[in-house]
Symmetry: C2
């Protein structure tokens, strides 16, 4: 999470803000964390940043474009989290599970941000570029490639990455369901639950069998 500037008030701020784009994105994230996604209106963001409702339109074409910027920051934060998880695990087997757990935990800890990242009400049918090029997606693919010793066809590698990503995303969206509470309890906590589900996915059974 980047450092956030304090909300500007009328007396501290000059007519020209200086870096309103960034301030707006930060204000948006602040609102997301404190009041949830329902409260995230353009006007509320402008209010939080201390400017008029029309000011954002000089920096973003749309409300969508602001959200895109917020999502972008989210993907970068996810990158950081996954990199850390990857570095922490020693063997390649554990590394993969660790990645999955980190992914789901990121979604659990930043539910509002995660939702913005996957909100497809604006760009209907494409992944964010951030995800494909040099982003989290590649980290997963590289980890898989590493784990299988590089001896997997490009198509299989891509398929395995997609499979892993889908499983992670599905779990990320459901981890909060309270119907799972007894199961988590029985398994000794949420992380144990996560690991158990990932094991059941046996995501690399096919790759291992050749």
């Amino acid at each position: 999470m980047p450092a956030m500037t304090q909300p500007a008030t009328a007396d501290t701020r000059p007519y020209h803000h200086g870096d309103l784009s960034r301030a707006l994105v930060e204000a948006a994230r602040r609102i997301l964390e404190t009041e949830g996604p329902a409260a995230l209106s353009l006007r509320a963001v402008a209010r939080e940043a201390g400017v008029s409702p029309a000011a954002p339109y000089h920096h973003f074409k749309d409300k969508s474009e602001l959200l895109e910027a917020v999502a972008h920051e989210g993907w970068m934060a996810l990158d950081v989290a996954l990199t850390a998880a990857r570095a922490k695990a020693s063997d390649s087997n554990e590394r993969m599970t660790s990645l999955g757990v980190a992914y789901v935990c990121f979604a659990r800890d930043n539910p509002a941000l995660y939702r913005v990242m996957y909100d497809r009400s604006r760009d209907k049918d494409s992944l964010p570029d951030q995800m494909k090029e040099e982003g989290a997606y590649c980290q997963v693919r590289n980890t898989i490639d590493e784990r299988t010793g590089g001896g997997v066809s490009p198509i299989d590698l891509e398929l395995a990455t997609i499979a892993a990503w889908c499983a992670g995303h599905g779990l990320a969206e459901m981890i909060g369901f309270k119907q799972f509470a007894p199961l988590k309890e029985a398994l000794g906590g949420e992380e144990a639950f996560l690991r158990a589900v990932f094991e059941h996915l046996g995501m690399f059974a096919k790759l291992d069998q050749g």
Copy 2:
């Protein structure tokens, strides 16, 4: 898809509608299919049903409650689709894949409805009851139980069901991404792509290994 009554016009419809609750839900689904989720406002639904903007409030507490009813219909439709897929497959192995493919295809063919079904802006952290009790979730669990010959601990059965559901949901949300187009092409169509991903998930590796 249930039969839908035609949109009522001022001259055909008496002051009292007769069955406005149902008409509203049908109007909502009609809007979802033709204009997408962005156009689904309460006022638009009322307009489509031929009544005043305030009329829905005599049948639903909220906009959320209307959407809940729409989602309920969605879950029932999903039940039907899964039941059909289950009946069509002969052996229990194929039956499981068939279930998964049917699930994802349902989401692909009813993207707007699927989104409403999973929209957690109203009831944050619980699955719809429809899903757990005697619904699609049970169909998946039963199919897994059947496939493993019933010799699996309740916890493992539940975990496997969750794992399968997460994978299906994740794939359902991503199937439309155009980045997957070349891969689909290479594998000979979308269904082949789906099956390939499901195979890579190897969802029952653990259960099979005991």
